[in-house]
């Protein structure tokens, strides 16, 4: 099993590399590039700008350069961003760090301290702080939202789908099917808006945005907040909980709709298999036949499906966080796109892609746990 995990992880490395390259290319290909963004920020002094250019190996952009020169410049910037190159030096010395070793090496071994290899994702042009800081303070909010949503989504979909499959054509099944169709077709953000209006404004039952009630609590994820949290953990959790209701509902509605049908279909297929007939012929009670024999096989495609849909959970988080002004990575993303905050964008792309790759790995492992045929692949 360990070998399986290791092998699968190694298989993901090319994907990781690809993601890194794509992130870089996308940002650089945008008109203007970091140079334009840098010059747009009045608060930076020329000294700061020069330091940045050096730090990131930013090359002067000149549209009249022949193609290969432009490509060469891009490669240099890529090298700087990765942390392979050290642009305090020039020429071949660029591969060498300030302390004299290969820049690529980890910092504690004498390598450089720039670039993503060394954990330096750059600085937010807008906030003036390291990207790692800016992103990591947004992670908890997004994590709260997406993990709650994930649990609800998968749990409810499995429950609904299994019950509908077992009681096929019953009123419950037909109702679930109908609602699944309707909800599956709704644009998520519109659903969010309608929910805000109906439950938030008209009925006033739930808060209409944010993660905490700003009157009662310090801003989320600040040291003051955690202090207040420690003094009243139940209150804090319930406050967050109330704010979670609408965003999570919005985030999962479409997914539950789609997946409950998928679970139902998978369960029906499993129930039609020969081994279910054998189980019945052995005299096993219905609960065991369905809950043990059919269910486990039915979950195989469901696991794959959930893994494939995980990226959409993150995309959905962007939508939801925007509408509900949730202080997470999705909101950060939108703000950064608007502000052309390149390093933040690249960092976000990397972080979420890594999350997704890990999630895929987890799905593979889960799959192998459920299906013994895969284990010795």
């Amino acid at each position: 099993m360990v070998k399986f995990i290791v092998r699968r992880s190694i298989g993901l490395l090319p994907l990781l590399l690809g993601v890194v390259v794509i992130s870089f290319l996308l940002m650089r290909a945008a008109p203007g590039g970091p140079q334009a963004a840098l010059s747009g920020i009045k608060s930076l002094t020329q000294e700061d700008r020069d330091a940045w250019v050096k730090q990131w190996c930013l090359q002067p952009v000149d549209a009249s350069d022949p193609v290969y020169v432009q490509m060469g410049k891009m490669m240099i910037e890529f090298g700087g961003w990765l942390g392979v190159l050290n642009c305090n030096n020039t020429g071949a010395q660029a591969f060498v760090s300030d302390s004299g070793n290969l820049n690529v090496l980890p910092t504690f071994l004498g390598g450089g301290d720039n670039g993503i290899i060394h954990g330096d994702l750059g600085s937010s042009i807008k906030a003036g702080r390291p990207v790692t800081e800016v992103i990591s303070e947004r992670i908890p909010a997004t994590l709260i939202l997406t993990s709650t949503a994930l649990v609800l989504w998968v749990g409810v979909a499995i429950l609904l789908g299994t019950y509908a499959a077992v009681h096929r054509y019953s009123l419950f099944d037909q109702a679930v099917t109908f609602f699944a169709y309707v909800f599956y077709s709704l644009p998520t953000f519109w659903l969010g808006l309608m929910l805000i209006f109906f439950f938030g404004v008209a009925l006033g039952l739930v808060p209409t945005g944010g993660i905490i009630t700003t009157r009662d609590w310090p801003p989320f994820n600040t040291p003051q907040y955690w202090e207040a949290f420690g003094q009243d953990p139940l209150g804090a959790v319930s406050d967050i909980g109330r704010h979670l209701i609408l965003p999570v509902a919005t985030l999962v509605a479409v997914n539950i709709a789609a997946d409950s049908r998928f679970v139902r279909a998978s369960m029906l297929e499993s129930l039609g298999q020969d081994y279910v007939r054998t189980a019945k012929a052995k005299g096993l009670p219905g609960r065991t036949v369905i809950g043990k024999h059919a269910f486990r096989n039915a979950m195989l495609p469901v696991v794959t499906n959930v893994a494939l849909e995980l990226p959409f959970l993150f995309s959905g988080a962007i939508v939801t966080e925007t509408i509900f002004t949730w202080p997470g990575m999705g909101r950060l993303f939108i703000d950064s796109v608007g502000a052309r905050d390149y390093f933040v964008l690249m960092g976000l792309l990397l972080v979420t892609s890594v999350f997704i790759l890990l999630a895929n790995l987890l799905a593979d492992v889960l799959y192998a746990v459920i299906d013994p045929r895969i284990r010795y692949d």
Binding site: D274, A281, K282, G283, L284, N297, D371, P372
Partner: protein, 376 residues
């Protein structure tokens, strides 16, 4: 042993000794395009320790018969008329049933069709065990072979997990699997087809059933493995004294494995008898057709004999005898009257050649009645 039973058990001394006594079994499927009469009045019985073969081509209802005995069909859309469900039978099914008597499946004196689901579950796997055609797909791929066998054992015998595992290992050994201790922890996909079928047999026998129903157990296997499995089934049947009901379309399999045979066509029994009688001197034209269609060495260079035509459309059965459109001996009464084996005299073939049809005098082959029933 295989003659259809009369209406009540009181009249029939033979039936009360039978292990399994199927009477007037009808199983109709109500589907979108109409009603399919999959099994249309089938009766036979199996005595303890006896072997019975049910023969017929695909679609004749032999598998459905077995599944109906085990009550493995869902109702609806499947309907088997019993006393209990008479009111719930849909209109169109009821029309086709007409005044047919309710079906009964007597097992050790109890009507299986009248049992509750819980009671039936105790019969399944325990008193009657069934093995299926496709060993590849009939075993659950995500559980070990041992888990699947011990599951049945623990359910029916209240054995502990350890005892059940021992029983599982013993069962595997009894079906000729080497190294059963190792095999018991393996998954189905790690075994060959023949071995999987052995596992199925082991699983079926693990609770010492009194009747084993085998539905085309060797059809999906190679010829050489077929022979091994059949021999295994025979040997086990000898050893444990269980009765065997073997369903197949392969006459060769029947010839080697069972003592009595029932021939089915289009949901009905058309001929019964011992294997020797039926296979050596077939009386029903269908049985005759089946036997002559088997190619033999002496036929080199000649055309193969076929039974012309195809199995009738289940939604549109012919009037009169079901086999008439294809029968080389078809004559007068065949297209007007439907021969039923229960009404037949002699009571082992459903054909107007042997039994006088209503309105006609002496059937053309009355002289071929079996010797024990020839009247003066």
């Amino acid at each position: 042993m295989t003659a259809p039973a009369p209406a009540t058990a009181a009249d029939d001394p033979v039936a009360s000794e039978a292990l399994l006594d199927v009477r007037d079994l009808r199983t109709y499927f109500k589907v979108m395009d109409g009603v399919v009469r999959a099994v249309d009045g089938v009766s036979f019985s199996v005595a303890p320790g006896e072997t019975l073969g049910i023969v017929g081509e695909s679609g004749c209802g032999k598998s459905v018969t077995a599944l109906s005995i085990m009550r493995l069909h869902d109702t609806p859309p499947t309907w088997t008329p019993t006393d209990a469900n008479a009111e719930r039978i849909p209109e169109d099914v009821r029309t086709l049933l007409g005044d047919a008597p309710p079906s009964r499946v007597m097992f050790e004196g109890r009507d299986l069709l009248a049992l509750s689901e819980d009671e039936m579950r105790q019969v399944r796997g325990n008193d009657i065990a069934m093995i299926f055609q496709e060993p590849m797909t009939s075993l659950n791929p995500v559980f070990t072979v041992g888990e699947q066998i011990t599951e049945a054992v623990m359910l029916h015998t209240k054995a502990s997990k350890k005892d059940a595992l021992d029983k599982a290992v013993d069962s595997l050994r009894a079906v000729g699997i080497n190294n059963p201790e190792r095999r018991v922890k393996q998954y189905p996909h790690e075994m060959s087809g023949g071995m999987r079928q052995r596992v199925m047999i082991a699983m079926a026998l693990s609770c010492d059933p009194k009747l084993l129903i085998a539905d085309e157990p060797t059809t999906a296997l190679d010829v050489t493995i077929q022979a091994q499995i059949l021999e295994l089934i025979r040997e086990i049947q000898d050893r444990t004294g269980a009765a065997l009901m073997l369903i197949t379309h392969d006459l060769g399999v029947v010839a080697e494995t069972v003592h009595d045979v029932v021939v089915m066509y289009a949901g009905r029994v058309v001929e019964t008898g011992t294997v020797d009688d039926v296979l050596l001197t077939p009386k029903h034209p269908y049985t005759e057709g089946l036997l002559t269609s088997i190619p033999s060495r002496g036929m080199r260079g000649q055309r193969l004999n076929v039974i012309k035509g195809t199995v009738p459309n289940p939604f549109n059965m012919p009037t009169g005898c079901n086999f008439a459109p294809r029968c080389p001996y078809v004559f007068g009464p065949c297209t007007d009257h439907d021969p039923r084996i229960e009404d037949a005299d002699p009571a082992d073939v459903a054909c107007w050649q042997y039994t006088p049809a209503p309105g006609s005098a002496i059937p053309p082959r009355a002289h071929l009645r079996r010797s024990s029933e020839v009247s003066a």
